[in-house]
């Protein structure tokens, strides 16, 4: 019934960071998500806590992005370049080539497809929750995520 909030914090933060591309804002949105989750009693005891958390985070990310689009784009450029310079998120050396190739492959995907990949394979969100979050059927989520994974595998093989 209860989630591991500390584990979910990291996952939600990654999701928000992916959406906003800004460390500070992603963390603010993550914390705001948890606080809003606590304020509402609607979903806590119905086993839909994770879905509720992601829905709040998604909506907050959209709001934040709309409010400060200009600031984000400027800051994120600075942040990405700074991070690249520091290699703060650099992958281990043995997987470096794979990860870089995969990043290039991910750039060929649309924003929605990248979100699906992140939710399904990185954050390990169950398919039923993803389907309700993005508003498509479970079968469609399953089909799309599998197709995208195959696409990435093919890209890596090439």
């Amino acid at each position: 019934m209860f989630m591991d909030f500390k584990e979910q914090y990291n996952k939600l933060y990654r999701y928000c960071y992916f959406k906003l591309r800004h460390r500070e804002m992603a963390e603010d949105v993550t914390q705001e998500t948890f606080l809003r989750f606590l304020e509402s009693d609607r979903y806590k005891d119905t086993g839909k806590s994770m879905q509720y958390l992601y829905t709040i985070a998604r909506n907050l990310c959209i709001d934040t992005y709309r409010r400060s689009r200009f600031q984000i784009s400027l800051d994120s450029e600075k942040e990405i370049s700074a991070l690249d310079a520091k290699s703060a998120v650099s992958p281990p050396q043995d997987n470096l080539v794979t990860t870089l190739t995969l990043k290039a492959a991910l750039d060929t995907l649309s924003e929605e497809e990248r979100e699906l990949i992140l939710l399904r394979y990185v954050n390990e969100v169950p398919i039923n929750i993803i389907s309700e979050l993005v508003g498509i059927s479970r079968f469609a989520v399953y089909r799309k995520t599998n197709r995208l994974l195959k696409q990435l595998e093919t890209f890596l093989k090439e």
Partner: protein
């Protein structure tokens, strides 16, 4: 053919590698204020019912088995229409009560009081939830046993209920008093002694003071029951207050 087989065997590994690479590709810079946030993080509230349901799982199995054993013994005696069912059950009632009191003394016995007080829920809430669950289950048990006594004796269901409740409540009151006054591990031993003494008295009264169980003393039993209910509430209140004091000292 062999290539196909090899391809099939390597495929899950490849997929796992891709997933691992995906995690790295989506890695974000480490959050800076996570620990700070969780230090002041208000944990989600929980309803009383949910707390009781959660705590039910932590009640030791032997507690439930004992209650089940008493019920089965009652059934067996009643099945034989044995008139001694009442005395047998009233002698066992203090031990049923002891299972409830032992929950109260358990954290003292294992020296866990301080640790439990630093946890998400106050020790008071946890113990009250567990004792509430046990008290409710015991009430159901006594409600099932009273008709059994009625079936194999001349006592009414109400009388049988009162005769079973009096030793039960007497054990609860004295047991709570003992756990409150006697420190550490000895409290559990004291509870066992109290339960044993009341059980023996119950059996002795059948042989030495059998008139006590006649309708002449019915009013006395009823008044005793009311008094015990009052003292039980009093002791529960005192125990809770003592836990609050302990929490105050701990903080």
């Amino acid at each position: 053919m062999n290539d196909k087989k090899k391809h099939r065997l390597t495929r899950p590994t490849e997929r796992a590698q891709v997933k691992q690479a995906l995690r790295e590709a989506f890695s974000a810079p480490a959050p800076l204020r996570k620990e700070e946030f969780f230090q002041d993080y208000p944990l989600p509230p929980i309803s009383t019912f949910s707390l009781m349901v959660t705590q039910t799982g932590y009640i030791p199995k032997w507690t439930w088995l004992f209650s089940l054993g008493v019920f089965v013994s009652g059934l067996l005696y009643a099945g034989r229409m044995d008139p001694d069912t009442l005395w047998m059950l009233s002698a066992l009632a203090p031990f049923i009560a002891m299972t409830l009191i032992s929950e109260n003394a358990r954290s003292k016995y294992y020296s866990m009081t301080e640790l439990e007080m630093s946890c998400r829920f106050f020790l008071k809430s946890i113990l009250l939830a567990r004792m509430g669950v046990l008290a409710l289950s015991h009430l159901v048990l006594l409600c099932l046993l009273a008709p059994l006594v009625h079936l194999c004796s001349d006592y009414t269901i109400l009388q049988a209920g009162v005769y079973l409740l009096v030793p039960y409540l007497l054990t609860v009151v004295l047991g709570l008093w003992a756990t409150r006054k006697i420190p550490h591990r000895e409290s559990l031993l004291a509870c066992a002694c109290i339960a044993g003494t009341i059980s023996c008295l119950s059996i002795l009264s059948k042989f030495c003071f059998s008139a006590l169980w006649s309708t002449d003393y019915w009013n006395g039993w009823f008044v005793t029951l009311l008094l015990l209910l009052f003292f039980c509430a009093w002791e529960v209140r005192k125990t809770v207050k003592q836990m609050e004091d302990a929490r105050w000292n701990f903080s």
